[in-house]
Symmetry: C2
Subunit: 321 residues, 2 copies
């Protein structure tokens, strides 16, 4: 049997056929184009159907189709509540999908799906709790407890980027000030790097970016630090500090078995990011005297996590390999 | 059948016989005195046994004895990991208790037990998630998800007072800076009130406290505000702001069905505390467009919550009335 997972992004749909070991055996990608909400259900169903046909898989061999949306969903009612960057509001996706293919449909938030994928493929299959923290434009968090996604009463749980860590700090798109993602997302790191460059015209980061602030990336400060650049070093240290601050908050609340860091920034050398973050967090959390602690690790699946996790929505937790 | 709950405090033990409706039918209180860790098990067992004998309850009528400790516990292994204000470290309470009475023993953290009590007695019996936030010397949080306590991998989850909301802020006993409880606990409110008095010698709070800063209580600023005192009003508004900041963080993470506020401060008039906090939190959280939201309410059980919750540890969630 297979499960299909579809990752709905702002510009593309990516679908994958996922086997019983939770591996992607085939994928399909298409630009996101639909004229009406009604059409969206058809687009998704056609994509899933074509994925089976193109790969010679009988539709009866597909146990479920799961979809990860960039926003809150109500999986029980089969409804997408809202999406970011796509104008979907209270869309009955499951019902619309079923007009074209009557297969069990499951809906998830994309960050939650990615967390489920990481959880499923985590090396220790005995864990029951994992939080995936994705450092991107914002900070996305997906929370798995007792092997299940924490959705909250309205599908909006796990908005981990929007916990205030700097009271009265930087304004956030959510309307609050001082949200964690304003300090520890990849975008925040890029802003911090630019600010450091503007304050230090002698920084080697100017050479690295050809004098163009628009060419600053998440890795710029990390690379410059290795060339001995003092401003870059300060940026990295401050960023690590902000990242650890929010992670320590999460540990004090959940004490999960695993926190996995995802997103491009998490690919920095372990010596520059993962190890110092691990040390700072352990130094700050409650329960230092306990004999078990949260493991902070790098996420493993990259962009596949969303598809795999969406596919896994249709499985019971017992089905984990 | 009954369940016994014992609340272990820094100075007293309080035990209660709890009936099938989750009500306390008899209590017993004793000062906490023990010469060795070994003796502690005996003290607890004797207290539970005496509670049955004094109330004419046959021991066979007791389904479990649950105990709430001020610190992390490992319920599966029957071990208290650490307690605040009492020198217990890795104490095998269940085993020690069983030398005197072979009844199922369950261990919990006191804040978690209180949350379980509030959850059980919450008016809507269909809820599955409740977070109890107790405003006292610090801020204690007990987190109930899917009808179960969130303990974390090491029993240390739910240290909700120790999430940093003011990066680099006031030093906290936990070693970090800017923890929520340094701004929104009852102790913090008292400190904020004192500081406002010192900055305003004309405040009516000086009369209310007989000119003695040591007589400032959590309600002082609330009362003075009703007498038109401007400094008191500022204190209350600022306090409400800090309280809402942390609560909005919790909502963005969990979107629980209910957050209950406990501790003396929560008894302020609803117009002064509960209603403005509800409004501020709703204004800040993610998912405003959802059709269901976290309800913020006052806790109901007061000091009994700990005993009731400890007793309930021995029940499955299905047993809820």
């Amino acid at each position: 049997m297979y499960n299909i997972g579809i990752d709905i992004g702002g510009t593309n749909l990516k679908a994958g056929l996922v086997d019983e070991q939770g591996r992607i055996t085939a994928t399909k990608k298409a630009p996101l184009r639909f004229a009406s909400m009604e059409q969206m259900g058809e687009v998704l169903a056609r994509m899933a159907i074509e994925l089976t046909e193109e790969n010679g898989v009988d539709r009866a061999q597909v146990a479920s189709v799961g979809m990860g949306f960039p926003g809150p969903v109500d999986d029980r009612r089969g409804v997408v509540i809202k999406t970011v960057n796509i104008p979907l509001r209270f869309m009955p996706v499951a019902e619309m999908f079923h007009r074209h293919w009557d297969v069990p449909v499951r809906l998830g938030n994309d960050a939650d799906c990615a967390a489920l994928g990481e959880y499923y493929h985590y090396e220790d299959k005995n864990i029951e709790s994992l939080i995936l923290v994705t450092l991107g434009t914002g900070i996305g968090t997906g929370i798995i407890l007792n092997g299940r996604i924490l959705t909250g009463v309205n599908g909006c749980a796990g908005e981990g980027g929007h916990i205030v860590i700097v009271h009265g700090g930087e304004p956030c798109t959510c309307g609050r000030r001082g949200c964690w993602e304003r300090y520890a997302s990849a975008s925040a790191l890029i802003q911090q790097t630019r600010a450091a460059m503007e304050a230090d015209r002698a920084s080697c980061m100017w050479d690295m970016t050809g004098g163009d602030l628009n060419k600053v990336e998440g890795y710029t400060a990390f690379e410059a630090m290795h060339q001995g650049d003092t401003s870059a070093k300060r940026v990295v240290h401050q960023y690590v500090e902000y990242l650890a601050e929010g992670l320590a908050n999460y540990v004090n609340i959940f004490q999960p078995e695993v926190i996995a860091l995802g997103g491009g920034v998490s690919n920095a050398h372990d010596e520059d990011l993962l190890y110092p973050v691990q040390a700072l967090v352990l130094d700050r959390v409650f329960g230092k005297e306990a004999d078990v602690h949260t493991k902070i690790v790098k996420a493993r699946l990259g962009n596949d996590a969303g598809i795999i996790g969406a596919a896994l929505l249709g499985r019971s937790r017992q089905a984990r390999v």
